[in-house]
Amino acid sequence: MPHPIVEISELTQLVADHLLPDDRQSLVSLACTCRALEEQALSTLWSEQGSLKTLIKSTLLTGVLSPSQWLPQVRTDGP
């Protein structure tokens, strides 16, 4: 049984928000602490992203895509 305090989503959200964006590794650790914290920590971890690459690497590269597939093949005149 998780401690009752981790079932108060407002509190766990505050903890997760406090860690974002400076301490993403701690958010990962928080997600691994217990199932009650996993969803909150992961959703906060994924809420701010700087590209699609992390998402693709974490999900599709294991079975859907090969690394050579997901990088852009065609580029026109750059900026």
């Binding site: 994924w46 998402l55 999900t59 599709l60 852009p72």
Partner: protein, 398 residues
């Protein structure tokens, strides 16, 4: 299994930045599109910052969540022309048309060109989002009709544009921009907007426009004004700006290289009037200090700004440094406490950029003493040559 995980993680995204060079291939975008419910990858997305590339633009629907409140779309491939450019503009127009149905609060659009259909789409999006829009930055010329819409946005607090309303009169500015706090004018926009604002303010103050609720000058809530101009800055140019008495931040960039000589034509008296008219200034950049050193403003201008703008924390002023030590020693500074207070908790910064200056060792202390007499809380001097760097280094020791 992988797609379920992908969709789960994507559903948590609220803020996504796609910078140039970070995109994935068309093939992957196509796969994502085919495996996302309703073709939307991140259904909970609220803030999107998208530096689009030619191969990613056609997949714009992936990112248009129904909850988007902020979108920054930039397309920096300026060399495109002909059919390729038409295709890009067509895609961007499609994106803008989709924005009509979103509760947008902040819209930034930076694209290489415009077309009648894009112009019309922007006007339409502005109209549809008129009650929610707070920030609008469109770095492409807009039609008069689009600008007329923008002027009437009831909650707009920040507006950045590159052109003004051609052929408009000060009458059309009655009641315009009711909540505007930040105005950023690029290229020709300053020359088109500022005289209009000035004329409208004069009309109001002379009582010619007494119709409620239009009996207040436009831009009366303005606190930040940023202008980038490529013309000579003179008293006539500054006059409308001096009507925005609540300005806290004024940035006026006028690179001298763009006019083939010194572009700064203000005098010390002009700066004194500006300082009197804008007493709340905290950050001020007046002109872009250049290497020509033929401008008529001197150290006296620094003293006027110091004594009349008591909240000043940052100043970049184009002034003549030919006889800096002599000017600093002879300048008259109002006795304290009327001038800029010497506050130990607040540091004042002076930006000299490319202003020419070389200094001998025996001049360092008198020059610093002169500056500190004008700005007692002077903490940093920023400049690009050895003279300013030497002063800045010595300032830390003082």
């Amino acid at each position: 299994m992988e797609w379920a995980k992908f969709r789960r993680y994507a559903s948590w995204m609220r803020r996504l930045s796609l910078i140039e060079g970070s995109s994935v291939s068309e093939e992957v975008l196509y796969l994502i599109s085919a495996n996302s419910p309703n073709g939307i990858m991140c259904p909970g997305l609220r803030n999107l910052f998208w530096a689009a590339e030619p191969h990613t633009l056609p997949f714009y629907r992936l990112f248009l969540s129904p909850h988007l409140i902020e979108i920054e779309l930039s397309f920096r491939y300026r060399a495109l022309e002909g059919e390729v450019l038409d295709e890009v503009l067509s895609d961007i127009t499609s994106v803008v048309l989709e924005l009509e149905n979103l509760p947008l609060r902040h819209l930034y659009l930076d694209v290489p060109a415009t077309s009648p259909s894009l112009d019309s789409a922007v006007s339409s999006a502005v109209l549809r989002c008129r009650h929610s829009l707070e920030t609008l930055s469109v770095l492409t010329p807009l039609s008069d009709a689009a600008i007329q819409h923008i002027m009437r946005l009831p909650n707009l607090t920040t507006w950045e544009g590159v052109n003004g309303p051609a052929g408009a009169s000060e009458l059309s500015l009655s009641g315009a921009f009711p909540e505007l706090k930040v105005l950023q004018l690029q290229a020709e926009a300053s020359l088109e907007w500022l005289p209009l604002f000035g004329a409208a303010a004069r009309r109001t103050s002379s009582g010619q426009d007494s119709r409620a609720p239009f009996n207040h000058p436009p831009g009366q809530k303005l606190t930040v004004l940023e202008c980038w101009v490529d013309v000579s800055v003179n008293a006539a140019f500054m006059h409308p700006i001096m009507l925005f008495h609540g300005l806290v931040e004024l940035m006026l960039e006028s690179p001298c290289s763009s006019v083939g000589g010194c572009a700064f034509s203000l005098t010390d008296n002009d700066v004194a009037e500006i300082a009197t008219a804008l007493p709340r200034l905290r950050n001020a950049t007046l002109g872009t200090p250049c290497s020509v050193n033929s401008c008529r403003t001197t150290v006296s201008s620094l003293a006027f700004l110091s004594t009349r703008c008591k909240s000043l924390e940052y100043l970049g002023l184009h002034f003549n440094t030919t006889n800096l030590r002599g000017d600093l020693e002879s300048v008259s500074v109002d006795p304290r406490p009327h001038g800029l207070p010497s506050s130990p908790g607040r540091s004042f910064s002076l930006l000299m950029a490319n202003a020419p200056y070389s200094i001998s060792e025996e001049d360092v202390l008198p020059v610093l003493t002169g500056f500190l007499r004008i700005f007692p809380s002077l903490g940093r001097i920023y400049g690009n040559n050895t003279g300013w760097r030497e002063l800045s280094r010595s300032l830390k020791e003082v």
